[in-house]
Symmetry: C2
Subunit: 209 residues, 2 copies
DNA sequence: AGAAAAATTGTCCAATTGGTCAAAAAATTC
DNA sequence: GAATTTTTTGACCAATTGGACAATTTTTCT
Protein backbone atom coordinates (compact mmCIF):
# COMPACT_ATOMS: atom_id res chain seq x y z
CA UNK A 1 0.00 0.00 0.00
CA UNK A 2 1.42 3.28 -1.06
CA UNK A 3 1.07 5.70 1.81
CA UNK A 4 1.48 8.68 -0.41
CA UNK A 5 -1.65 7.97 -2.38
CA UNK A 6 -3.82 7.00 0.52
CA UNK A 7 -6.34 9.62 1.45
CA UNK A 8 -7.15 8.88 5.07
CA UNK A 9 -4.23 8.35 7.39
CA UNK A 10 -4.58 6.24 10.50
CA UNK A 11 -3.80 7.56 13.95
CA UNK A 12 -0.40 5.89 13.97
CA UNK A 13 0.40 7.21 10.55
CA UNK A 14 -0.44 10.75 11.55
CA UNK A 15 1.54 10.52 14.74
CA UNK A 16 4.62 8.98 13.22
CA UNK A 17 4.66 11.31 10.27
CA UNK A 18 4.39 14.21 12.63
CA UNK A 19 7.20 12.81 14.77
CA UNK A 20 9.37 12.37 11.72
CA UNK A 21 8.65 15.84 10.41
CA UNK A 22 9.48 17.41 13.72
CA UNK A 23 12.78 15.57 13.95
CA UNK A 24 13.53 16.25 10.32
CA UNK A 25 12.99 19.97 10.82
CA UNK A 26 15.61 19.96 13.56
CA UNK A 27 18.12 18.08 11.48
CA UNK A 28 17.48 19.80 8.16
CA UNK A 29 17.58 23.27 9.66
CA UNK A 30 20.90 22.54 11.31
CA UNK A 31 22.62 20.66 8.48
CA UNK A 32 20.73 21.47 5.29
CA UNK A 33 19.32 18.90 2.88
CA UNK A 34 22.61 17.35 1.88
CA UNK A 35 24.21 17.54 5.31
CA UNK A 36 21.27 15.87 7.00
CA UNK A 37 21.31 12.08 7.15
CA UNK A 38 18.55 9.58 7.67
CA UNK A 39 20.51 8.27 10.63
CA UNK A 40 20.43 11.67 12.28
CA UNK A 41 16.71 11.97 11.66
CA UNK A 42 16.26 8.45 13.00
CA UNK A 43 18.08 9.29 16.22
CA UNK A 44 16.27 12.61 16.59
CA UNK A 45 12.89 10.97 16.11
CA UNK A 46 13.55 7.83 18.14
CA UNK A 47 12.61 5.65 15.19
CA UNK A 48 14.70 3.25 13.15
CA UNK A 49 15.85 4.14 9.70
CA UNK A 50 13.77 1.53 7.86
CA UNK A 51 10.77 2.61 9.88
CA UNK A 52 11.20 6.16 8.66
CA UNK A 53 11.44 4.88 5.12
CA UNK A 54 8.18 3.06 5.69
CA UNK A 55 6.44 6.39 6.10
CA UNK A 56 8.44 8.33 3.55
CA UNK A 57 9.79 6.85 0.37
CA UNK A 58 13.01 8.83 0.50
CA UNK A 59 14.96 11.51 2.31
CA UNK A 60 14.00 13.98 -0.38
CA UNK A 61 10.33 13.20 0.25
CA UNK A 62 10.70 14.09 3.90
CA UNK A 63 12.45 17.31 3.01
CA UNK A 64 9.78 18.15 0.48
CA UNK A 65 6.98 17.48 2.96
CA UNK A 66 8.59 19.52 5.73
CA UNK A 67 9.25 22.41 3.40
CA UNK A 68 5.78 22.33 1.87
CA UNK A 69 4.15 22.57 5.26
CA UNK A 70 6.41 25.47 5.99
CA UNK A 71 5.76 27.53 2.90
CA UNK A 72 2.12 28.26 3.64
CA UNK A 73 2.90 29.10 7.23
CA UNK A 74 5.67 31.39 6.10
CA UNK A 75 3.57 33.36 3.67
CA UNK A 76 0.47 33.43 5.90
CA UNK A 77 1.11 36.74 7.69
CA UNK A 78 1.00 38.50 4.33
CA UNK A 79 -2.67 37.63 4.00
CA UNK A 80 -3.45 39.50 7.19
CA UNK A 81 -2.55 42.81 5.62
CA UNK A 82 -5.89 44.43 5.04
CA UNK A 83 -6.39 47.24 2.56
CA UNK A 84 -9.12 48.60 4.84
CA UNK A 85 -6.85 49.17 7.79
CA UNK A 86 -4.50 52.03 8.51
CA UNK A 87 -1.43 51.56 6.31
CA UNK A 88 1.09 52.11 9.04
CA UNK A 89 -0.75 49.90 11.52
CA UNK A 90 -1.04 47.14 8.94
CA UNK A 91 2.61 47.24 7.94
CA UNK A 92 3.88 47.58 11.50
CA UNK A 93 1.69 44.63 12.42
CA UNK A 94 3.13 42.61 9.59
CA UNK A 95 6.67 43.39 10.65
CA UNK A 96 5.89 42.42 14.24
CA UNK A 97 4.28 39.16 13.14
CA UNK A 98 7.37 38.32 11.11
CA UNK A 99 9.68 39.23 13.97
CA UNK A 100 7.66 37.04 16.30
CA UNK A 101 8.07 34.15 13.92
CA UNK A 102 11.82 34.68 13.91
CA UNK A 103 11.81 34.50 17.67
CA UNK A 104 9.52 31.53 18.01
CA UNK A 105 10.37 29.52 14.93
CA UNK A 106 14.06 30.01 14.19
CA UNK A 107 14.44 26.49 12.84
CA UNK A 108 11.76 27.06 10.25
CA UNK A 109 13.33 30.35 9.27
CA UNK A 110 16.75 28.76 8.89
CA UNK A 111 15.44 25.87 6.85
CA UNK A 112 13.69 28.24 4.52
CA UNK A 113 16.77 30.44 4.27
CA UNK A 114 19.00 27.48 3.47
CA UNK A 115 16.63 26.35 0.78
CA UNK A 116 16.59 29.74 -0.95
CA UNK A 117 20.31 30.23 -0.45
CA UNK A 118 21.09 27.01 -2.24
CA UNK A 119 18.98 27.81 -5.25
CA UNK A 120 15.52 26.82 -4.01
CA UNK A 121 15.60 23.53 -5.91
CA UNK A 122 12.25 22.45 -4.53
CA UNK A 123 10.48 25.74 -4.05
CA UNK A 124 11.40 27.86 -7.03
CA UNK A 125 8.04 27.03 -8.54
CA UNK A 126 6.12 28.19 -5.51
CA UNK A 127 8.20 31.33 -5.23
CA UNK A 128 7.59 32.31 -8.82
CA UNK A 129 3.86 31.62 -8.73
CA UNK A 130 2.11 31.54 -5.37
CA UNK A 131 4.40 33.85 -3.44
CA UNK A 132 4.79 36.27 -6.32
CA UNK A 133 1.04 36.45 -6.77
CA UNK A 134 0.37 37.15 -3.10
CA UNK A 135 3.10 39.73 -2.97
CA UNK A 136 1.89 41.43 -6.14
CA UNK A 137 -1.52 41.81 -4.52
CA UNK A 138 -0.09 43.35 -1.38
CA UNK A 139 2.16 45.69 -3.33
CA UNK A 140 -0.96 46.76 -5.22
CA UNK A 141 -2.57 47.57 -1.86
CA UNK A 142 0.44 49.69 -0.96
CA UNK A 143 0.31 51.47 -4.29
CA UNK A 144 -3.37 52.15 -3.74
CA UNK A 145 -2.64 53.62 -0.31
CA UNK A 146 -0.02 55.84 -1.87
CA UNK A 147 -2.40 56.98 -4.56
CA UNK A 148 -5.00 57.78 -1.91
CA UNK A 149 -2.39 59.83 -0.08
CA UNK A 150 -2.70 57.61 2.96
CA UNK A 151 0.98 56.70 2.66
CA UNK A 152 4.11 58.43 1.47
CA UNK A 153 5.66 56.97 -1.65
CA UNK A 154 7.66 53.81 -1.08
CA UNK A 155 8.78 50.96 -3.34
CA UNK A 156 6.47 48.18 -2.19
CA UNK A 157 8.55 45.25 -3.33
CA UNK A 158 11.71 46.49 -1.72
CA UNK A 159 9.77 47.40 1.39
CA UNK A 160 8.72 43.78 1.78
CA UNK A 161 12.21 42.54 0.96
CA UNK A 162 13.64 44.72 3.68
CA UNK A 163 11.05 43.62 6.23
CA UNK A 164 11.82 40.00 5.44
CA UNK A 165 15.55 40.62 5.59
CA UNK A 166 15.56 42.57 8.82
CA UNK A 167 13.21 40.31 10.75
CA UNK A 168 14.55 36.97 9.55
CA UNK A 169 18.08 38.14 10.24
CA UNK A 170 17.43 37.68 13.95
CA UNK A 171 16.59 34.00 13.39
CA UNK A 172 18.94 33.07 10.57
CA UNK A 173 22.00 34.86 11.90
CA UNK A 174 21.23 34.50 15.58
CA UNK A 175 24.70 33.10 16.22
CA UNK A 176 26.27 36.25 14.90
CA UNK A 177 23.86 38.55 16.68
CA UNK A 178 24.29 36.74 19.96
CA UNK A 179 28.07 36.68 19.71
CA UNK A 180 28.00 40.47 19.44
CA UNK A 181 25.27 41.30 21.92
CA UNK A 182 25.43 39.62 25.29
CA UNK A 183 21.75 39.89 26.03
CA UNK A 184 18.96 37.55 26.90
CA UNK A 185 16.72 36.58 24.04
CA UNK A 186 13.95 38.64 25.59
CA UNK A 187 15.99 41.83 25.70
CA UNK A 188 17.35 41.22 22.23
CA UNK A 189 13.97 40.85 20.59
CA UNK A 190 12.52 43.74 22.58
CA UNK A 191 15.32 45.97 21.34
CA UNK A 192 14.92 44.62 17.83
CA UNK A 193 11.22 45.36 17.83
CA UNK A 194 11.80 48.87 19.12
CA UNK A 195 14.46 49.50 16.49
CA UNK A 196 12.48 48.01 13.61
CA UNK A 197 9.37 49.89 14.65
CA UNK A 198 11.36 53.09 14.58
CA UNK A 199 12.86 52.34 11.16
CA UNK A 200 9.52 51.43 9.69
CA UNK A 201 7.71 54.39 11.21
CA UNK A 202 10.27 56.80 9.86
CA UNK A 203 10.37 55.11 6.48
CA UNK A 204 6.63 55.11 6.02
CA UNK A 205 5.41 58.32 7.51
CA UNK A 206 7.90 60.98 6.65
CA UNK A 207 8.86 62.60 3.42
CA UNK A 208 12.52 62.15 2.66
CA UNK A 209 14.51 65.29 3.37
CA UNK B 1 57.47 18.35 2.87
CA UNK B 2 54.50 19.79 4.63
CA UNK B 3 53.12 22.60 2.52
CA UNK B 4 51.25 24.09 5.41
CA UNK B 5 54.39 24.84 7.36
CA UNK B 6 56.44 26.10 4.48
CA UNK B 7 56.85 29.84 4.47
CA UNK B 8 57.63 30.69 0.87
CA UNK B 9 55.36 29.17 -1.71
CA UNK B 10 56.58 28.49 -5.22
CA UNK B 11 54.89 29.95 -8.27
CA UNK B 12 53.10 26.68 -8.97
CA UNK B 13 51.96 26.40 -5.39
CA UNK B 14 50.51 29.89 -5.40
CA UNK B 15 48.76 29.35 -8.70
CA UNK B 16 47.28 25.98 -7.83
CA UNK B 17 46.13 27.05 -4.41
CA UNK B 18 44.46 30.05 -5.95
CA UNK B 19 42.81 27.87 -8.58
CA UNK B 20 41.58 25.51 -5.91
CA UNK B 21 40.24 28.29 -3.74
CA UNK B 22 38.36 29.85 -6.61
CA UNK B 23 36.76 26.54 -7.54
CA UNK B 24 36.05 25.74 -3.91
CA UNK B 25 34.28 29.05 -3.42
CA UNK B 26 31.94 28.18 -6.28
CA UNK B 27 31.19 24.75 -4.93
CA UNK B 28 30.99 25.63 -1.24
CA UNK B 29 28.75 28.64 -1.85
CA UNK B 30 26.35 26.51 -3.85
CA UNK B 31 26.31 23.38 -1.71
CA UNK B 32 27.64 24.32 1.71
CA UNK B 33 30.48 22.57 3.50
CA UNK B 34 28.80 19.21 3.82
CA UNK B 35 27.11 19.25 0.44
CA UNK B 36 30.31 20.11 -1.39
CA UNK B 37 32.46 17.18 -2.48
CA UNK B 38 36.11 16.99 -3.40
CA UNK B 39 35.06 15.55 -6.72
CA UNK B 40 32.99 18.64 -7.47
CA UNK B 41 35.87 20.90 -6.51
CA UNK B 42 38.17 18.76 -8.64
CA UNK B 43 35.95 19.14 -11.69
CA UNK B 44 35.44 22.85 -11.10
CA UNK B 45 39.16 23.45 -10.76
CA UNK B 46 40.29 21.14 -13.56
CA UNK B 47 42.58 19.27 -11.18
CA UNK B 48 42.47 15.69 -9.98
CA UNK B 49 41.29 14.88 -6.50
CA UNK B 50 44.65 13.62 -5.22
CA UNK B 51 46.29 16.69 -6.66
CA UNK B 52 43.98 18.90 -4.65
CA UNK B 53 44.84 16.90 -1.56
CA UNK B 54 48.49 17.51 -2.33
CA UNK B 55 47.92 21.22 -1.75
CA UNK B 56 45.39 20.93 1.03
CA UNK B 57 45.43 18.23 3.64
CA UNK B 58 41.65 17.89 3.76
CA UNK B 59 38.37 19.29 2.52
CA UNK B 60 37.95 21.09 5.81
CA UNK B 61 41.29 22.79 5.30
CA UNK B 62 40.16 24.16 1.95
CA UNK B 63 36.94 25.41 3.49
CA UNK B 64 38.82 27.01 6.34
CA UNK B 65 41.26 28.72 4.00
CA UNK B 66 38.53 30.05 1.71
CA UNK B 67 36.49 31.30 4.62
CA UNK B 68 39.45 32.90 6.36
CA UNK B 69 40.34 34.89 3.27
CA UNK B 70 36.74 35.97 3.12
CA UNK B 71 36.30 37.16 6.66
CA UNK B 72 38.72 40.07 6.44
CA UNK B 73 37.29 41.16 3.13
CA UNK B 74 33.81 40.98 4.56
CA UNK B 75 34.52 43.14 7.57
CA UNK B 76 36.78 45.58 5.68
CA UNK B 77 34.16 48.20 4.73
CA UNK B 78 33.47 48.76 8.42
CA UNK B 79 36.97 50.18 8.82
CA UNK B 80 36.23 52.87 6.27
CA UNK B 81 33.67 54.50 8.53
CA UNK B 82 35.45 57.58 9.76
CA UNK B 83 34.39 59.41 12.89
CA UNK B 84 35.60 62.62 11.25
CA UNK B 85 33.18 62.44 8.37
CA UNK B 86 29.55 63.44 8.20
CA UNK B 87 27.54 60.73 9.96
CA UNK B 88 24.98 60.33 7.23
CA UNK B 89 27.56 60.33 4.45
CA UNK B 90 29.62 57.76 6.29
CA UNK B 91 26.72 55.41 6.96
CA UNK B 92 25.21 55.81 3.50
CA UNK B 93 28.64 55.10 2.06
CA UNK B 94 28.91 51.99 4.18
CA UNK B 95 25.53 50.75 3.05
CA UNK B 96 26.43 51.36 -0.58
CA UNK B 97 29.73 49.54 -0.19
CA UNK B 98 27.92 46.54 1.29
CA UNK B 99 25.29 46.59 -1.43
CA UNK B 100 28.01 46.69 -4.06
CA UNK B 101 29.59 43.64 -2.50
CA UNK B 102 26.26 41.82 -2.68
CA UNK B 103 26.06 42.63 -6.36
CA UNK B 104 29.64 41.78 -7.23
CA UNK B 105 30.40 38.97 -4.82
CA UNK B 106 27.21 36.98 -4.28
CA UNK B 107 29.09 33.72 -3.87
CA UNK B 108 31.13 35.10 -1.02
CA UNK B 109 28.00 36.45 0.62
CA UNK B 110 26.24 33.12 0.31
CA UNK B 111 29.16 31.17 1.67
CA UNK B 112 29.35 33.44 4.66
CA UNK B 113 25.61 33.25 5.18
CA UNK B 114 25.63 29.47 5.03
CA UNK B 115 28.42 29.34 7.56
CA UNK B 116 26.58 31.53 10.06
CA UNK B 117 23.28 29.85 9.40
CA UNK B 118 24.70 26.46 10.27
CA UNK B 119 26.18 27.59 13.55
CA UNK B 120 29.42 29.17 12.37
CA UNK B 121 31.47 26.12 13.39
CA UNK B 122 34.68 27.61 12.06
CA UNK B 123 34.12 31.31 12.55
CA UNK B 124 32.37 31.65 15.87
CA UNK B 125 35.69 32.62 17.40
CA UNK B 126 36.29 35.40 14.92
CA UNK B 127 32.74 36.65 15.27
CA UNK B 128 32.95 36.86 19.03
CA UNK B 129 36.34 38.57 19.08
CA UNK B 130 37.51 40.38 15.98
CA UNK B 131 34.12 41.28 14.48
CA UNK B 132 32.65 42.18 17.83
CA UNK B 133 35.59 44.43 18.63
CA UNK B 134 35.40 46.25 15.31
CA UNK B 135 31.67 46.67 15.59
CA UNK B 136 31.91 47.89 19.18
CA UNK B 137 34.28 50.59 17.98
CA UNK B 138 31.97 51.70 15.21
CA UNK B 139 28.94 51.71 17.48
CA UNK B 140 30.98 53.89 19.83
CA UNK B 141 31.50 56.29 16.94
CA UNK B 142 27.76 56.38 16.34
CA UNK B 143 27.09 56.99 20.01
CA UNK B 144 29.61 59.84 19.93
CA UNK B 145 27.86 61.36 16.93
CA UNK B 146 24.58 61.14 18.77
CA UNK B 147 26.05 62.77 21.85
CA UNK B 148 27.45 65.57 19.71
CA UNK B 149 23.98 66.04 18.23
CA UNK B 150 25.28 65.26 14.77
CA UNK B 151 22.89 62.35 14.55
CA UNK B 152 19.45 61.51 15.86
CA UNK B 153 19.33 58.70 18.39
CA UNK B 154 19.55 55.25 16.88
CA UNK B 155 20.51 51.85 18.26
CA UNK B 156 23.92 51.38 16.66
CA UNK B 157 24.07 47.60 16.87
CA UNK B 158 20.67 47.08 15.35
CA UNK B 159 21.43 49.71 12.73
CA UNK B 160 24.37 47.63 11.55
CA UNK B 161 22.38 44.41 11.75
CA UNK B 162 19.71 45.92 9.54
CA UNK B 163 22.24 47.25 7.02
CA UNK B 164 23.81 43.81 6.83
CA UNK B 165 20.45 42.12 6.52
CA UNK B 166 19.02 44.43 3.88
CA UNK B 167 22.09 44.54 1.66
CA UNK B 168 23.08 40.89 1.89
CA UNK B 169 19.50 39.89 1.22
CA UNK B 170 19.99 40.83 -2.43
CA UNK B 171 22.87 38.37 -2.73
CA UNK B 172 21.77 35.56 -0.42
CA UNK B 173 18.14 35.47 -1.51
CA UNK B 174 18.68 36.54 -5.10
CA UNK B 175 16.67 33.59 -6.34
CA UNK B 176 13.65 34.75 -4.41
CA UNK B 177 14.10 38.39 -5.37
CA UNK B 178 14.53 37.56 -9.03
CA UNK B 179 11.55 35.21 -9.13
CA UNK B 180 9.39 38.08 -7.90
CA UNK B 181 10.89 40.96 -9.87
CA UNK B 182 11.47 40.39 -13.54
CA UNK B 183 14.20 42.96 -13.89
CA UNK B 184 17.74 43.02 -15.10
CA UNK B 185 20.36 42.91 -12.39
CA UNK B 186 21.24 46.51 -13.16
CA UNK B 187 17.71 47.77 -12.63
CA UNK B 188 17.27 45.65 -9.55
CA UNK B 189 20.33 46.95 -7.78
CA UNK B 190 19.62 50.50 -8.87
CA UNK B 191 16.16 50.28 -7.34
CA UNK B 192 17.57 48.60 -4.26
CA UNK B 193 20.10 51.36 -3.77
CA UNK B 194 17.47 54.02 -4.18
CA UNK B 195 15.18 52.29 -1.70
CA UNK B 196 17.87 51.60 0.87
CA UNK B 197 19.17 55.14 0.58
CA UNK B 198 15.70 56.40 1.28
CA UNK B 199 15.22 54.10 4.28
CA UNK B 200 18.55 55.00 5.75
CA UNK B 201 18.14 58.72 5.17
CA UNK B 202 14.77 58.73 6.86
CA UNK B 203 15.98 56.52 9.68
CA UNK B 204 19.01 58.61 10.43
CA UNK B 205 17.96 62.18 9.89
CA UNK B 206 14.46 62.53 11.18
CA UNK B 207 13.03 62.44 14.63
CA UNK B 208 10.41 59.76 14.97
CA UNK B 209 6.88 61.19 14.86
C1' DA C 1 -9.83 -15.60 19.18
C1' DG C 2 -8.14 -15.73 14.67
C1' DA C 3 -7.23 -13.76 10.24
C1' DA C 4 -5.68 -9.91 7.82
C1' DA C 5 -3.44 -5.73 7.58
C1' DA C 6 -0.18 -2.53 9.24
C1' DA C 7 4.00 -1.44 11.53
C1' DT C 8 8.71 -2.46 12.91
C1' DT C 9 13.31 -4.05 12.57
C1' DG C 10 17.85 -6.60 11.58
C1' DT C 11 20.49 -7.40 7.87
C1' DC C 12 22.24 -6.37 3.80
C1' DC C 13 23.82 -3.80 -0.52
C1' DA C 14 25.53 -0.53 -3.89
C1' DA C 15 26.98 4.10 -4.51
C1' DT C 16 29.34 7.95 -2.86
C1' DT C 17 32.88 10.06 -0.42
C1' DG C 18 37.23 11.65 1.92
C1' DG C 19 41.50 10.31 1.84
C1' DT C 20 46.07 7.17 1.01
C1' DC C 21 50.00 5.68 -1.52
C1' DA C 22 53.32 4.28 -4.63
C1' DA C 23 54.81 5.18 -9.04
C1' DA C 24 55.33 8.25 -12.90
C1' DA C 25 56.05 12.78 -14.83
C1' DA C 26 57.67 17.35 -14.66
C1' DA C 27 60.34 20.99 -12.85
C1' DT C 28 64.34 22.62 -10.50
C1' DT C 29 69.04 22.57 -9.05
C1' DC C 30 73.76 21.69 -9.46
C1' DG D 1 72.49 16.74 -18.43
C1' DA D 2 72.31 14.14 -14.37
C1' DA D 3 70.54 14.25 -9.74
C1' DT D 4 67.12 15.82 -6.81
C1' DT D 5 62.97 17.73 -5.59
C1' DT D 6 58.32 18.83 -6.64
C1' DT D 7 54.11 17.81 -8.87
C1' DT D 8 50.71 14.74 -10.79
C1' DT D 9 47.96 10.72 -11.17
C1' DG D 10 45.78 5.95 -11.29
C1' DA D 11 44.47 2.61 -8.33
C1' DC D 12 42.83 1.65 -4.15
C1' DC D 13 40.53 1.64 0.64
C1' DA D 14 37.51 2.28 4.62
C1' DA D 15 33.62 4.78 6.24
C1' DT D 16 29.29 6.68 5.46
C1' DT D 17 25.02 6.86 3.34
C1' DG D 18 20.39 6.11 1.13
C1' DG D 19 17.72 2.60 0.57
C1' DA D 20 15.82 -2.58 -0.19
C1' DC D 21 13.78 -6.56 1.76
C1' DA D 22 12.28 -10.47 4.16
C1' DA D 23 10.99 -11.74 8.58
C1' DT D 24 8.83 -10.54 12.82
C1' DT D 25 5.77 -8.08 15.80
C1' DT D 26 1.83 -5.36 16.67
C1' DT D 27 -2.61 -3.57 15.62
C1' DT D 28 -7.07 -3.82 13.58
C1' DC D 29 -11.15 -5.99 12.06
C1' DT D 30 -14.66 -9.49 12.12
Amino acid sequence: MNLIEKKTLSRIQKEKRSTIKKAALEVFSEYGLRGATLDKIAVASGLTKPNILYYYSSKDQIYFDVLSGLLDEWVAPLHNISSDGDPIDELLGYMKAKLKMSKQKPQESKLFATEILHGAPLTQNVLATSLKQTLDEKVAVIDKWIEEKKLEYVNGYHLFFSIWAMTQHYADFDIQVKSILNQSEEELFDDAEEYLTSVLLRTLSVRAP
